[in-house]
Symmetry: C2
Amino acid sequence: MATDARFERINTVLDRRQMDLTVLMEHVNKPHNLSAIVRTADAVGVHDLHAIWHDQDLERSNFYSSGSNNWTRVHRQPDIDTAVDTLKQQGMQILATNLSDSAIDFREVDYTKPTAIILGTERFGISERALELADQHIVVPMMGMVQSLNVSVASALILYEAQRQRDIAGLYQHAQGVEAQEKQRLLFEGCH
Amino acid sequence: MATDARFERINTVLDRRQMDLTVLMEHVNKPHNLSAIVRTADAVGVHDLHAIWHDQDLERSNFYSSGSNNWTRVHRQPDIDTAVDTLKQQGMQILATNLSDSAIDFREVDYTKPTAIILGTERFGISERALELADQHIVVPMMGMVQSLNVSVASALILYEAQRQRDIAGLYQHAQGVEAQEKQRLLFEGCH
Ligand SMILES: C[S@@+](CC[C@H](N)C(=O)[O-])C[C@H]1O[C@@H](n2cnc3c(N)ncnc32)[C@H](O)[C@@H]1O
Ligand SMILES: C[S@@+](CC[C@H](N)C(=O)[O-])C[C@H]1O[C@@H](n2cnc3c(N)ncnc32)[C@H](O)[C@@H]1O
């Protein structure tokens, strides 16, 4: 792509970014899941993601070298209390994905509000503490024998429901977009 | 779970199966993608999946031993022409997922009709021949910088749109369900 066209493209994408929509990953460990989640986030205009990792968690280097996270930011959080506190201070509703009867269908939520979606670890799901701190528990309905979906699949279904609602509400036309400094950084890196 | 309850559960799941909704995977190779696709298929009531593989394709043994494909059937197809022919003879509309301008938004399709969704290989996407044979090309809209979604993510978004439409149309209440012989097999295996 010619540099001018590419510059325009990056500009447009960054202007549509939904700064009040985010994901908080609680010990999501597998590089292929992290990479799929970040790609989907980028595709629906999420710019900031948050993650809590144990030091011993994963092959994160694999993930960081995959290139799929160049267009978004993954902020490392020390623990769930701090993470949720930070997001609540930004006025976000906190949704915990959870496979239980207390959870409502993910399509019933209003995602045009500032929203953070908590995703659980592959093996054991979301922590008790995260469930406690959340404003709402949500679930993707399942009609089969398998107990849970892949975490990147579940997050994509929720993020694209948010995209659908926000598109209808005109939130991509009138987006806040990323702040000037981040924009400069990405335009510089993306066009050189 | 007590055997009676488990028997009931399996019965109900198999009676809701959508025998006229399927996926055709063209050289989808990575075990974690195959496993995520099969889990999602099970969750929306797809019982039969189709796959074309090269002999040298993947670590398929990994996939077969993961257990996630116990509740669905993956039929191996020799080539794309035979596969599409088989599905067309079953009266299915053939949708090819494709990242091009000729593709329509995946949400505009009527999935209450008998439907097969073709998914492309991780690296290169769908073949020219598959695009030729398809009735329609569909795309999941993307508003970011990354070019494509993970294949299990893309298929899940499409399958859950089908689930949404079919649920509204009452197709889970009045499903064909799996045939008697397959039902016996799964009830036997699942309760022993
Ligand atoms: C593989 S699941 C964890 C399964 C774990 N055994 C449990 O019971 O929670 C990993 C994460 O994927 C997400 N997830 C998977 N299936 C989901 C569903 N049907 N609805 C909502 N979230 C789901 C949740 O974030 C979950 O914590
Ligand atoms: C990673 S993509 C292949 C990318 C490849 N470079 C191309 O240009 O097609 C693998 C498969 O995922 C599916 N896929 C990925 N993103 C999609 C999207 N936005 N819409 C529809 N299907 C998509 C398609 O089946 C595609 O063949």
